[in-house]
């Protein structure tokens, strides 16, 4: 059983559209990170959110941590082809100092 569920698993949209991907759990995390992974590369950290309700913006990307620190969302405004990739969320559990990973959302932005 995965502790972190990501949805959708796959998303293909046209350039210019908006989208939201979700990361949900029944567990509480001390923090939550979002990574992007491109083909043939390792994941690269985009953002870390720590406080319940926290919202962080990275250009056209908006990340939100749920109030109860059990879920998170990533919203992309006016998607571009360069946003294509696998988006992974990872929750930090300070009970065992481990990052728990979601299975990822594969995002394809078509020109």
């Amino acid at each position: 059983t995965q502790l972190l569920e990501q949805s959708p698993q796959f998303l293909s949209i046209q350039e210019g559209e908006n989208l939201t991907v979700y990361c949900n759990s029944s567990s509480v995390f001390s923090s939550l990170q979002w990574y992007r992974q491109e083909p043939g590369e390792g994941p690269v950290l985009l953002v870390t959110v720590v406080t319940g309700g926290e919202v962080k913006k990275l250009k056209r990307l908006t990340f939100q941590f749920g109030d109860a620190r059990k879920d998170s969302s990533l919203h992309i405004t006016a998607a571009q082809t360069g946003d294509t990739g696998l988006y992974l969320c990872a929750g930090f559990m300070d009970s065992n100092y481990q990052l728990i990973w979601g299975a990822g959302t594969k995002l394809i932005i078509k020109p």
Binding site: S31, G42, V50, D94, Y97, G104
Partner: protein, 115 residues
């Protein structure tokens, strides 16, 4: 300069063989990890070392043995390879492992194919 480098990038080998994957980081980090990413892209931690000491050892077959000669290196040796070992293996490092803002830096991955 590559921050976390692992070799080889591709490895094709026959069942039953023994192989090693090497990892080096030049970030001065004290914690290194090995992850396995399966065909469904699910990242699963295998091992973690902090200052050359094993701190995480998930349930993996004992055919997998990590070795950390120093803080900057964490190698993965696999004995008696099986078809199910085929996956992409990622090495990663971080500064510390207890902070909620611990950021993992990943290598490019080693795609292992067992035939």
């Amino acid at each position: 300069d590559t921050a976390v480098s692992q070799t080889p990038k591709y490895l094709v080998t026959q069942m039953g063989n023994d192989k090693s994957i090497k990892c080096e980081q030049n970030l001065g980090h004290d914690t290194m990890y090995w992850y396995k990413q399966d065909s469904k892209k699910f990242l699963k931690i295998m091992f973690s070392y902090n200052n050359k000491e094993l701190i995480i050892n998930e349930t993996v077959p004992n055919r997998f043995s990590p070795k950390s000669p120093d803080k900057a290196h964490l190698n993965l040796h696999i004995n008696s390879l099986e078809l199910g070992d085929s996956a992409v293996y990622f090495c990663a490092s971080s500064q510390g492992h207890r902070g909620v803002r611990t950021e993992a830096f990943f290598g490019q991955g080693t795609r292992l194919t067992v035939v």
